[in-house]
Symmetry: C2
Subunit: 156 residues, 2 copies
Amino acid sequence: MSALHDHTHCIADALTRADALCAERGARLTALRRRVLELVWSSHRPRGAYAILEDLSQQEGKAAAPLTVYRALEFLVEQGLVHRIESLNAYVGCAAPGDVHSGQFLVCEACGDAAEIDDPGVGAAIDAAAAGRGFRVQRPTVEVRGLCKSCQENPR
Amino acid sequence: MSALHDHTHCIADALTRADALCAERGARLTALRRRVLELVWSSHRPRGAYAILEDLSQQEGKAAAPLTVYRALEFLVEQGLVHRIESLNAYVGCAAPGDVHSGQFLVCEACGDAAEIDDPGVGAAIDAAAAGRGFRVQRPTVEVRGLCKSCQENPR
DNA sequence: GACATGGGTGTTACTTTATAACACCCTGTC
DNA sequence: GACAGGGTGTTATAAAGTAACACCCATGTC
């Protein structure tokens, strides 16, 4: 992720794609859900449910309840618009909603960025390993902690 | 995991291996830590920190503090004797402590069992994917949710 | 043996993350 | 307009994890 990229544009893109996908599927991307999606995208980093909750409360001018956010997030995850990063208890906008993919992440310990990758090799290796053991895969989770390229080059 | 296997023996084995490994490394496997390791192994399933805490409290006859368990678990994870399953917030005994491995799990949604695998193909695919993006891997996490062989054959 | 050192443990309080139960209210349909 | 069903609000609560600080005890040193 470049520090210079047009982030506003990138949020707008995500919302547009979400509108299209939900319309196509007959899923209801309500005002609340759309706003939560926008807040998830407000940085490219994984954000906790309670961080989103705070933003939402601020926008509304009054305290929102945790459930409000969790329910919206649940919908967004179901629709594949948002991924949950298990090892961070946090949520991040999906880079390629609509495409079939499993959600693999390279999570940088230094800058907190979580780069979504969809490496066919990793997916295939998991499928093969599972098949060899008679295990039926439903939802693979791959979260690799480490250091991203830019943090290796510019250590703090 | 067979329902018939000699689980007592299997716990004893884990403790013996832990003793040997810690002695070799000069790590202090104190009575408390050893007891927590035993409780982690008390089933083959992932167990939450608070479940272990309850067992411990019962053994002691008085309520133990969460930190007591968390500190012991931290030690055990550092020593590679126990793995944390991120997507379950739970801990499970390591099947092959001492060996270099990353901790890959096939987690059954039906029976709750978490089979540890160490598939070289999966590890290699992750390394390759990361290397291609200039990412330095520190700790890969692979947790595949699905149905284990036995639960596919005997659905409930 | 006295002493200092450092890791391990106990205790209290607290934060963060997530869910349950139930009522109400829109929205689309007939 | 009546109905059905999903979406939202509200209150309370559960589950998971951490901070700060004091004490204890094994170990090594003199």
